[in-house]
């Protein structure tokens, strides 16, 4: 809004954040499943200002062949940002940040996907960030998990992700871009809501042990909210709007 960075009030005295949200209120989340014709499964997510497309191919033959596993399938994941997705043009070549995020997303999805059912094959997950806001790795994961389910790939559970963090000495849910830049801590978390397992957790920023525990629990609450939106997206895809 043309406000200088230093002018942003991250949390006012009424407990309202810089974008008008309450402390434990996530941004607007919209997920649509089955948005691509060629991919075996796909999803589009808008999570705040994030706009992200995920496509899943497979299980299919592995190339190069030496990567194939004889006793189980493999999962590959690519998180990629479009050059126009951020303020200043991003070099389209994968950065070290994107390679790390691709890896943690893969490891967050892997516990849910029943890869033992598909030896010698690969499931490819491609994630394109069309527009990035804070928390793009969580939003990307949410879309990727829905795309996997849309592809009909057997899963033990959904994977739902949401970040929590510390802003103006307060633990808040779902950090946006400004809060990420100016805030004190950012903790993305991915969770399998029915199995009760955290499959991704990262943190940068300083938290006391009490704040750490609270931050984890706050993020898990966010994951549960996301889970409902993911379920709704899949219901709409497979059963129409009636559900």
């Amino acid at each position: 809004m043309g406000v200088k960075k230093t002018d942003i009030v991250l949390l006012d005295d009424k407990g309202i954040r810089c974008d008008g949200r309450k402390i434990n209120e996530p941004r607007r989340i919209m997920i649509k499943a089955g948005v691509l014709k060629n991919a075996n499964g796909s999803a589009y997510i808008e999570f705040g200002e994030n706009k992200i497309l995920a496509g899943v191919f497979g299980p299919r033959d592995v190339h190069p062949k030496h990567l194939a596993n004889t006793d189980r399938g493999i999962l590959r994941c690519r998180y990629h940002m479009q050059p126009f997705s951020v303020g200043e043009r991003k070099n389209p070549a994968p950065s070290r940040r994107e390679i790390e995020i691709s890896k943690v997303i893969k490891e967050a999805l892997e516990p849910a996907v029943m890869l033992e059912n598909f030896p010698r094959t690969v499931v490819d997950v491609f994630i394109e960030i069309l527009q990035a806001d804070g928390g793009s790795r969580c939003a990307a994961l949410d879309a990727a998990a829905v795309a996997l389910a849309d592809a009909g790939i057997p899963m033990r559970d959904m994977v739902s992700a949401c970040a929590a963090g510390k802003v103006a000495d307060t633990i808040v849910l779902d950090i946006n871009n400004e809060e990420d830049q100016e805030g004190q801590a950012d903790m993305p978390v991915a969770y399998m809501p029915n199995l009760g397992k955290v499959t991704l957790i990262q943190l940068d920023g300083v938290l006391s042990p009490q704040e750490y525990e609270k931050c984890v629990n706050t993020a898990l609450e966010g994951c549960k909210i996301v889970y409902e939106v993911q379920k709704k997206a899949l219901q709409e895809k497979f059963f129409g709007d009636s559900q």
Binding site: R96, K197, S208, E213, N217
Partner: protein
């Protein structure tokens, strides 16, 4: 990736069987890190350096300090960059060439732990705002692999920075000159300690060695600062942690971190 050999399979079974009895392959307690040996000042041409052995994992780390242009959006801060590399002589599986995702993650996690703790007060490394700052470049080279490179590289980096000398620079009319023979200590605010834990079955083990590393379900690296607060986390591996396990790991990292911090401080002084 590679086909599992019979030997690896047997090792894995042994590790699982021992853990059921609460024991580890090398006789350590579950929350016991391996022996840590830190030698600082091993590379005199570097402004700071350390050789760290964590069990049989060995890392050589060097710090180079030199003036540089600040990042465009961070003109009031010095530069801090920490990298890590697995040398081809460290492990038969390591190959020369561009880093893979494992090595990129390693370098980023080691960098993040130290950076987020605010160990070095970068605001004190400015020569001229927006024009010239002091850069601290930390490069870790793994020379021998026995698991848990995250902690070994982190300890090597922290010990190197603690023992490093910052040359004195003068800035005038766009020119930086080094004052020969004059050094200051780096502006240290806290000593971060990274503690990596592996999850095998329902057991949480501290500082997994290579055999444990190869068969663990998931891992988590938690960096704590001197005040006993948590400043960085990275989870990895193909399985998850329950929320209760995450809290338990937080406590282990604070308790284990405190002991290792004393060793790092002692090594940094010598």
């Amino acid at each position: 990736m590679t086909t599992t050999t019979i030997l690896d399979d047997l090792k894995k079974k042994k590790i699982h069987a021992l853990l059921k009895e609460g024991q580890r392959v090398d006789g350590r307690a579950l929350d016991e890190p391996r022996q840590l040996i830190i030698d600082t000042g091993v590379i005199p041409k570097a402004e700071g350096s350390a050789r760290v052995r964590l069990g049989d994992t060995e890392v050589v780390c060097g710090v180079k300090v030199q003036p540089d242009k600040p990042f465009p959006d961070l003109g009031d801060r010095g530069i801090f960059i920490c990298t890590a590399e697995i040398l081809p002589l460290a492990d038969p599986a390591a190959e020369p060439g561009p880093p893979g995702e494992e090595v990129i993650e390693l370098a980023r996690v080691v960098d993040r732990g130290i950076r987020e703790s605010g160990m070095v007060d970068l605001k004190q490394l400015v020569l001229e705002k927006d024009k010239s700052v002091v850069g601290i470049f930390i490069d870790n080279s793994v020379t021998d692999y026995d698991g848990n490179l995250f902690d070994a590289c982190s300890y090597a980096s922290v010990a190197s920075v603690l023992s490093c000398k910052i040359p004195k620079y003068n800035y005038a009319d766009g020119v930086v000159t080094k004052v020969e023979g004059e050094f200051t200590a780096p502006p240290i605010t806290t000593v971060p300690v990274s503690v990596t834990m592996g999850k095998i079955g329902n057991n949480i083990i501290v500082d997994p060695n290579a055999d444990e590393w190869a068969c663990m379900d998931a891992r988590i690296t938690i960096t704590t600062n001197e005040a006993g607060n948590i400043c960085a986390i990275q989870k990895g591996g193909n399985n998850g942690f329950t929320p209760e396990e995450l809290v338990q790991c937080g406590k282990i990292s604070i308790a284990t971190g405190a002991k290792i911090r004393d060793m790092l401080k002692k090594a940094g002084r010598s």
